[in-house]
Amino acid sequence: MNPSITVTIDHQILSIQAGQTILEAADKAGIYIPRLCSYKGLPPFGACRLCIVEVDGMRGFPTSCSTPVSNGMVISTNTSSLQKLRANVLDLILSEHPSNCILCEETKECSLYMATIRKGEAVTGCRSCPEDGNCELQQAIQYIGVNNLSLPNLYKGKPIEKYDPFYNRDYNLCILCGRCVQVCHSIRLADVISFNLRGRDTFIGTAFNRTHIEAGCEFCGDCVTVCPTGSLIEKTRRYSAPIEVEYDTLCPFCSMGCNIILQTSKTQVIGSLPGYAQDGARVELCTLGRFGVFETVNQRTRAKYPLLTCGNHQKSISWEESLTIIVERLKSTQPNEYLMLISPDCTTEDLLYAQKFSREVMHSDQVYALSHTNYSYLIGLPNTLRFSPSGFMTLSKKDIILCLGVDQRYIQSNISLEIKKAARRGAQVILLQPGETNLDRYATKILPVNNDHIQFVLRYFADLVSTEELDSKVSSGVMIYQDLEHIKSMITEAEQVVVVIGDQYLENQTNWLLSNWIRNLSQNIDIRYLLIPQSANLETAYRLGLARFSYPKQDGLKPLKFAYLIGIQPPNHLKLADFIVYQNFVLPQKSSIVDMILPAPAFTEEEGTFMSFDGSIHHLKPVMKPFYQSSPTWKTLSRIAQALGVKDFNLEPENISDLLRQCSDQSPCTQNINNSDYQYLQFDSTNQMIEMNLQKPIFRGFSIQEWVKGLQDLPPLKIYFPNR
């Protein structure tokens, strides 16, 4: 607790805490000092020179962002000298920035009529800049005022850097505040960009003019978030309407449960920013949460109306008609002729209603939340062994972080950030992976293992390998004995071991070996696991007993009369049932294979709850009205149940919060489920995945990269030994 001291700012006597800067103290007291390079969470940089103040007894004009307060300090923040100097410095900054609109006489008229003039690529003034109205340079100009822009304009004339995915860089707008460099270096530990050259030629960029992909950029978007001007801008924001409102909500793309802030215009979701955690700290996002929202919810193949397949085309029908048809079909469907498949990234409400409907209304057990990624056996690991990411802060020299098949170069890169920080604190990082990742720099030991050999390694750790097998692997050059032995002994000698489970090696036998190994080790050493499935609501699905990791084989099931797919695409090569209903927020890839398409809202348009990987509950808030006639799945199922004459099936409640309350009363989220109870999980003996060749990451039955084009530019893992 810092001692209390007294300072005077602009004749106001303030009692404040020592150990802060003048700028921080002024902010807390509500006294505004202009600034452009200072940013909360970043160390003071002192580049923009706008936050200068006058301090009695200190000569010159110290910057308030870097000067600590001391007892008895007398500070003036807005004397006439300061005003003049700030205006001159701002003049200088604006002399290398496209400033046409600032003093133009037409500026008021122009902004009334030109809502989005950004048709051209080059920004020539505020009106053609995507950050118009949101720009911190504009705010500084408003407060400080400009001196007729007396200096000649030194526009740099650099080409716009647009050949990397997700965000463009127009360094003609860059004011060299250094925030992006600082955030990439001190917050994200990625060191992708820095200042290059010096003097007038100074520019921000990667080393040796590499592309951002080559330089190891994780596309976390932090630099874009902190950029005060329109220099760094999301590609999807460049031609969008200005942002009107921002909302706090949840990122739906995996089970981390990161808070995001959705930026919206009146009619559209424009983009997302990192949100804030419970403790008020800014959340770190990954590529999906930061850049994936716009293209996911705004893409052209959104489902709008209920559609009925007639021959080889779709006919638009009303909701009543569609429900009537469904009810007819269901009346003549036996429990074993019925199948419901739902995606584990649907809301808890959808999952709950899916289960309730299938079991109570259709009396069928054939309802599965189908995960495209195989977390079998691993999802059942005991809660007591689960590791919380906040625990990374406590790891140090005697602890080991064992990453198994983890590739967090882009997706979930915020977790690899925590691992990097723990490594810097001394924790030992061991990587078992098939190719080069962003953790290589921080690893104590790297064991290159491709898919063919991971089971051998796990059996070796579990002492299940015979000497003959070991000899053959070593002599064929596949494994190095010393490496294996070293890692094994490191694990046994560590104080705490955290196993981070990635998705490079997931496969039934491997999962089973891993899960057993962890359970057995937990009896002797302090070992935890960290598994963050890429499906947002897999934990709920698991607890409801719905989770399934393999597609039911055709001959495992009798011929079906009715299949209801929610957020799941039907297989191409076989007709799953006589009548297939598909409900999702986008149209299926091949509309002709399904018999009916029902539009569901996107995550930005619906309310719901999710349970993240650690069991905590998060809420989704709708920020837009449902798209056209889309309606939530749980509502549809409720109406079908009602139409089938089922009483007390949670009739269609008008009040969403009622529904939420009812769900949470019934949902096992608030109950204690014995996780070692395997009876709800069913696996085929053969465990074949028939058709699921979707490229990860996956959302509601699609590879996200089909919508979010930038993901297609990201390079695959560089495999260590492609031929072995």
């Binding site: 020179r49 910057t63 000067t67 410095v89 200088l92 200096l151 010096r198 003097g199």
Partner: protein, 635 residues
């Protein structure tokens, strides 16, 4: 070993033997100034001569004695007589001297600079006492006492010259006493800022951290400054002794010497000195059994002037981009790798052993109470005698330029002090004493000691432009006032230099200067506009002529002058006619000549050869084609 007595005895003997050598000894100045003048060739010629003539003669390479305008300098010591210093040694002259001294055992006074007499002679000797040389007489060489005299490679030479007495004394009397001595001596940082040295040490000494660093700043980026270079090349052991004492006081066990990579000879000689000290245990663990450990690393710069700034230097050693950071925190509290660090200039550190050895009251005999002691200066430019000098602070500019430097050939115009951070002082300022505050009051600074003398052939506007271009290129680019402010100032000066200046330019320059000085992050930016400020103040007429009359009175700025022969001064000797590359000069022998301006390319070859100063720059007549080019540029 716990003291240097044994080593000292051997060294004294060695030095004595050298002074009383039964065979001749040749000392040759091979510092960078000497090498630039051709000392390497002189050395190999001497070596060849000695081999072919079968002579047993020792050759000792020494540093720079400060008479750079006389390099290459060779001293010859014949048995039984004083060492005689010869200057401007090349080719024929060298042979004459070698023959005379080595064959005939006589000296040649006509080529001698002076002799190093043990006791100054009473009568007027044929070869004068070297210390009576007009360039050396007004100087007080304390820091530079050994430069050009001893071999910088030999620890024994340094020991024989009272080397490491100060360090041994420091270990005896303790750090607090040393700190007190430095405080009493009033020593201020010689790198330019003039911060009291003892204060910096005290702050760092009081920090509780175990890990501390001492850094010597040898970046010396000022164009035309070579004080630090000469000291490092001529007497590196002195700097290292100073470093040991300083580190001992603040409690640092690790030192860095940051030298610009453009000083390879200094780096080499310093490295050699460090290795030598390691061999005898004066660098390493438990030095002289005192329990004091100290190790030093040389860190080379990479061509950035801004890395002479403390925090940028620290960033550079840390492996980061050399960019300053805001202070507080100051390096003495939180510096290299976050630990308390003291950074001192080479000269400051080189002064320390002298103060400790002779006492602070001795030091206070020189200079004045606010500016005690001596300061080295690199005297360069249009003076007759350029070189490295050391004078008591408070010495007037007039003494330095006219007595020591011998004045200028052409009429004196200005003296530029303090490098790119300083300003130009005019004739009216010649009686100002050199010192920290005295020059500041006139708008300039003493800086690290660069003194560039200018005559009427230097264009002040061109000079301001040169310095501003320098700082603009060297700016690290972090803060807008420096990065962009200097750019705009350079652009304005560009236009003035090419005749496209406008009347508002001066006001703009002044306003930009004010902003840059007051709001820049570091010293580079804060002092970058200084050359412009002083030149506008004291040489306003020149700016005015450039802007209003499109005329450069010094005849430098292209397109802003024509050349004219003053008939009264022209003797018709026709030397100019022979050097003119385009045959633009016409006239009869022994009659005043005429320059045809349409043919003249303004190369000024004629100006350079005219012994009568008869050719002067004149404004371009408005009817000439050049004038119309100027006019179109200013539109």
């Amino acid at each position: 070993m716990n003291n240097l007595d044994l080593l000292r005895n051997i060294s004294d003997q060695e030095w004595n033997n050298l002074q009383n050598s039964p065979s001749p000894v040749i000392y040759i100045g091979t510092a960078t100034c000497g090498k630039a003048a051709g000392a390497d060739q002189v050395l190999s010629t001497i070596q060849q001569y000695l081999t072919s003539h079968n002579k047993e003669v020792r050759i000792i390479e020494v540093g720079c004695v400060g008479l750079c305008y006389l390099e290459p300098i060779v001293d010859i010591q014949l048995p039984g007589s004083a060492r005689v210093s010869y200057g401007n040694i090349t080719g024929e002259r060298l042979m004459k001297i070698l023959t005379a001294t080595l064959e005939n055992n006589i000296h040649l006074p006509q080529y001698a600079i002076g002799a190093f007499y043990d006791t100054p002679p009473d009568d007027q000797p044929k070869i004068p006492d070297i210390w009576q040389h007009p360039m050396l007489k007004p100087q007080t060489r304390i820091v530079l006492r050994n430069c050009g005299i001893i071999d910088p490679h030999q620890l024994s030479h340094y020991l024989a010259k009272d080397g490491f007495l100060a360090f041994e004394k420091a270990l005896q009397i303790g750090a607090d006493e040393i700190l007190n001595e430095i405080k009493k001596s009033g020593l201020r940082g010689r790198g330019g800022a003039g911060f009291p040295t003892y204060k910096k040490w005290e702050i760092c000494r009081c920090m509780p951290d175990q890990e501390k660093y001492f850094i010597i700043n040898g970046d010396e980026g000022d164009p035309g400054a070579f004080m630090n270079r000469s000291l490092l090349e001529g007497d590196p052991f002195a700097v290292l002794e100073g470093m040991l004492i300083s580190a001992y006081v603040i409690g640092a066990n690790k030192g860095y010497i940051y030298i610009r990579a453009e000083y390879p000879l200094a780096i080499k000689r310093l490295n050699n000195a460090i290795q030598r000290l390691k061999q005898v245990g004066l660098i390493g663990e438990n030095i002289l059994d005192s329990g004091f450990n100290f190790n030093v690393t040389i860190y080379e710069g990479a061509g950035a002037f801004v890395c002479g700034e403390e925090t940028a230097l620290i960033a550079s050693i840390e492996g980061k981009r050399g960019m300053p950071r805001p202070r507080p925190p100051f390096p003495a509290v939180c510096g290299l790798f976050g630990k308390p660090t003291v950074i001192n200039n080479v000269e400051t550190v080189g002064t320390i052993p002298n103060i400790i050895r002779n006492g602070s009251s001795w030091y206070l005999n020189y200079g004045n109470p606010e500016n005690p002691g001596t300061k080295t200066f690199s005297l360069a430019g249009k003076v007759k005698r350029t070189g490295l000098i050391e004078v008591p602070l408070g010495t007037s500019l007039r003494t330095i330029i006219f007595d020591i430097g011998g004045g200028t050939q052409k009429p004196f115009k200005a003296v530029q002090t303090g490098g790119p951070s300083g300003g130009c002082l005019s004739e009216q300022h010649l009686d100002l004493p050199v010192g920290y505050e005295s020059l500041r009051s006139a708008g300039s600074i003493m800086g690290s000691g660069g003194l560039i003398v200018l005559d009427n052939e230097t264009c002040i506007v061109d000079l301001a432009h040169y310095f501003l271009k320098f700082t603009q290129k060297e700016s690290c680019g972090k803060c807008a006032p420096c990065r962009l402010g200097t750019t705009h100032m350079v652009h304005i000066l560009d236009r003035i230099k090419t005749g496209a200046g406008t009347p508002t330019d001066i006001d703009n320059l002044v306003q930009l200067s004010d902003t840059i000085q007051k709001t820049s992050l570091c010293g580079l930016g804060q002092t970058a506009p200084n050359p412009v400020g002083t030149t506008i103040n004291y040489f306003y007429q020149e700016y005015f002529q450039h802007i209003e009359n499109h005329f450069c009175p010094a005849g430098v700025c292209g397109g802003l002058f024509d050349l004219k022969i003053i008939a009264e001064k022209c003797s018709g000797c026709r030397v100019c006619v022979t050097v003119c590359p385009v045959g633009a000069i016409q006239g009869e022998r022994r009659r005043p000549h005429l320059i045809e301006n349409d043919l003249c390319t303004h190369c000024k070859a004629c100006v350079n050869v005219c012994r009568f100063d008869a050719i002067i720059p004149i404004p371009v007549p408005t009817s000439s084609p050049t004038a119309s080019i100027n006019l179109s540029k200013s539109l």
